[in-house]
């Protein structure tokens, strides 16, 4: 009996979202486009860098340095400046990210076995890219230094750094980005669909009809909880397929663990969405409320920047953010074969968030009833 009632409500909810062709398009098209565009666009790798060289040295060592840089795949165009003023202009107008100044005594110093110097100027307005480029240039300079007469003598006691990357040997950026997007886009969709479902009914006045129907509060809540979760799981499935088959992200852990925790994640997300919509009186408020939660949730999740980079007093705020936990799970299951115990440890807070927000939403609905 109660199941039939609940089923009717779920069908009605799904229809409300999917009936409208524009609504249908917006739920399916953009998330997939986002996944494709953003996973290619959002890269902190630095490629195609333009560089300008001010070479005051006549010897062949400076030529060699420039050639060495030109041969690196990171750099796209190398321009030559005649004066420091030209260097300044090129950097000011962001025509280049970096400039290299080689002094007149460069080759002479090298031939004489004296330590030689080059100056690297980088655009601090793009400090992240600049830092990475400075690392690359440092390595190119070190390679050249090892070939100089003094370098050949010193090479024996220079410390060699042997670098190895675990879980992602070539540091492929998409292996990082796609699992992150799986979790974030599910948050985006889940939150908006849920936040609107109650607010729309309130605005149209059908929520009161729902409340006076034979449905009990928890049934209404379940009816509002399950359809967005179904939509969310549908999206997660598409993204996982795309991650594996389009982007070639290795799925090293258990798919079962991933789906198991995804259910709790979506319950937490939808719980938050229902709580927001229980608080808001109009659709506009619900949309903005969802947005107000979503932006900090994205930024304080460890997606854009690691949580441990944040100041100590801000880190506890991330504890109430479901994305924070699910990101660890998705990335962990995909790349690290995260063990069951750890997945459970990250899922427990999700369950707690879901319980708290759903009870709060139920309380708010019931209060409205009285």
């Amino acid at each position: 009996m109660w199941w039939a009632r609940l089923k009717a409500l779920i069908v009605k909810e799904l229809l409300a979202v999917l009936r409208d062709p524009k609504g249908r398009t917006i739920l399916i098209g953009p998330p997939i486009i986002q996944l494709l565009v953003f996973s290619y666009a959002a890269t902190l790798e630095v490629k195609n860098v333009d560089l300008i060289v001010l070479n005051r040295d006549a010897g062949h060592w400076s030529q060699e340095l420039v050639q060495e840089i030109g041969g690196s795949p990171t750099f796209r165009r190398i321009g030559f400046a005649m004066s420091p003023g030209e260097v300044r202009q090129a950097i000011d107008a962001q025509r280049v990210l970096a400039a290299l100044e080689i002094g007149p005594g460069f080759s002479r110093d090298i031939e004489a076995g004296r330590p030689a110097k080059v100056q690297v100027i980088l655009d601090g307005r793009r400090s992240n890219a600049s830092q990475i480029v400075s690392g690359y240039l440092g390595r190119i300079v070190a390679t050249l230094a090892a070939r100089t007469p003094a370098g050949e003598r010193a090479v024996s006691d220079a410390v060699r750094v042997e670098a190895r990357n675990w879980f992602n040997p070539n540091l492929t950026y998409q292996w990082f980005m796609v699992p992150n997007l799986v979790a974030s886009i599910a948050l985006l969709i889940g939150l908006i669909v849920t936040a609107l479902s109650v607010a729309r009914e309130r605005e149209l006045g059908t929520f009161d009809q729902l409340i006076v129907s034979p449905l009990r509060t928890h049934e209404i809540l379940l009816g509002k909880l399950i359809p967005p979760m179904m939509i969310g799981l549908f999206h997660i499935t598409i993204y996982i397929l795309a991650a594996v088959f389009v982007f070639g992200v290795p799925l090293r852990g258990s798919l079962f663990l991933l789906y198991g925790s995804a259910v709790f994640y979506l319950a937490a997300v939808v719980g938050i969405g229902l709580f927001i919509s229980a608080l808001s009186m109009t659709q506009q408020q619900a949309i903005l409320g969802a947005f107000l939660f979503m932006v900090p949730a994205m930024l304080l999740s460890g997606f854009a920047t690691p949580i441990e980079n944040m100041p100590g007093w801000l880190q506890p705020v991330t504890f109430i953010n479901p994305l924070r936990y699910f990101l660890v799970i998705v990335k962990g299951v995909f790349l690290k074969d995260l063990p069951l115990a750890e997945v459970a440890r990250q899922t427990a807070p999700l369950l707690l968030i879901a319980l708290v927000t759903l009870s709060a939403a139920a309380w708010l609905f019931r209060r409205r009833l009285e």
Partner: protein
Amino acid sequence: MIVARPSRKSRGGGSRRFAALVRKEIYQIIRDPSSILIAFVLPMILLFLFGYGVSLDTTRTRIGLVVEDETPLTRDLAASFEASRYFAVIEGRHRRDFEDDLVLGRVRGLVVIPASFAADLAAGREPTVQVLVDGTDPNTANFVLNYAQGAIANWERQRSNEGLANPPAIAAEQRFWFNAELTSRNFLVPGSIAIVMTLVGTLLTSLVVAREWERGTMEAMMATPVSAAELLAGKLLPYFILGLTSMTLCVLIAVFLFDVPFRGSVVALYVLSAAFLMPALGQGLLISAVTKNQFLASQLALISGFLPAFLLSGFLFEINSMPTVIQWITYVVPARYLIPSLQTVFLAGDIWPMFAQAITVMLLIGSIFFALAARNTRKRIS
């Protein structure tokens, strides 16, 4: 709630009519808590997050350090890792001790000084240090490697100063212009101001106008003697002012709370912002005219306005590193032109040739959006 006084056609009051329209919009903004939310509360939260929360500066990254053989020499090298301000070091004897920590993300990387290190160095056999990093976050992985190399280079420099080792044959001296300390806040905060203006210009405007379409008040207004151009201008002027106001608030916070340097002129700041609000408002108007529905408008504003301003503008991710097709898409994202200019106004000063180009393109994109919006609005009435 609508116009305070009906316009009197006899006195030709075009400007009065316009003033009434603007007044009506201003009342609506002031009375609607959600406008205040988008224009003031959300910007503060965003700025706050970018000022404190989002930091690309990797400080105190937790790493494991394995010293396989304890000698004065390896102790000395280990000390240079411990002294680095980029690392929080946990020491261990075996790399096995850290394998679980790496899987669970408790450490981001592992530095191993092998047992043979001291002997290799003494014998001139290329002593090696292994750096193993967690590749699941490639950016942090790169930084860990760079900083580990930095710590080793420091140690070698110390030894060469003490006459224990040869100095490097070529030293690269680095200088970072405009932001010598490499504080990521200094470029993130100016960038986030562009995102705030996208919120006001595109998201808020599209929501408000879509609501009017939904409720039918837009048609009601069109039935009045107000011309379509007046109607649109009257709608947009208050949001234009709102956008500039919230930008001003953000700049004040950036400069006085976050100590972001401001080296350019206030004139440049306002001219750039005003030029940017054209495409932002135009896009908001176009979205509402096409969707005429709040839910769809909010989704479209999010997808075509907010997210591209975030991800396809060079704010966080380098446009040059993106695949060519995606680079083409970035050309129509207005924030792409504003963000480097804003960063320049803050950190470098007024570089007008750069600004002039940005302003021209933004106005061009703006006029295309307006033309499209006007076409879609007119079609509806006929």
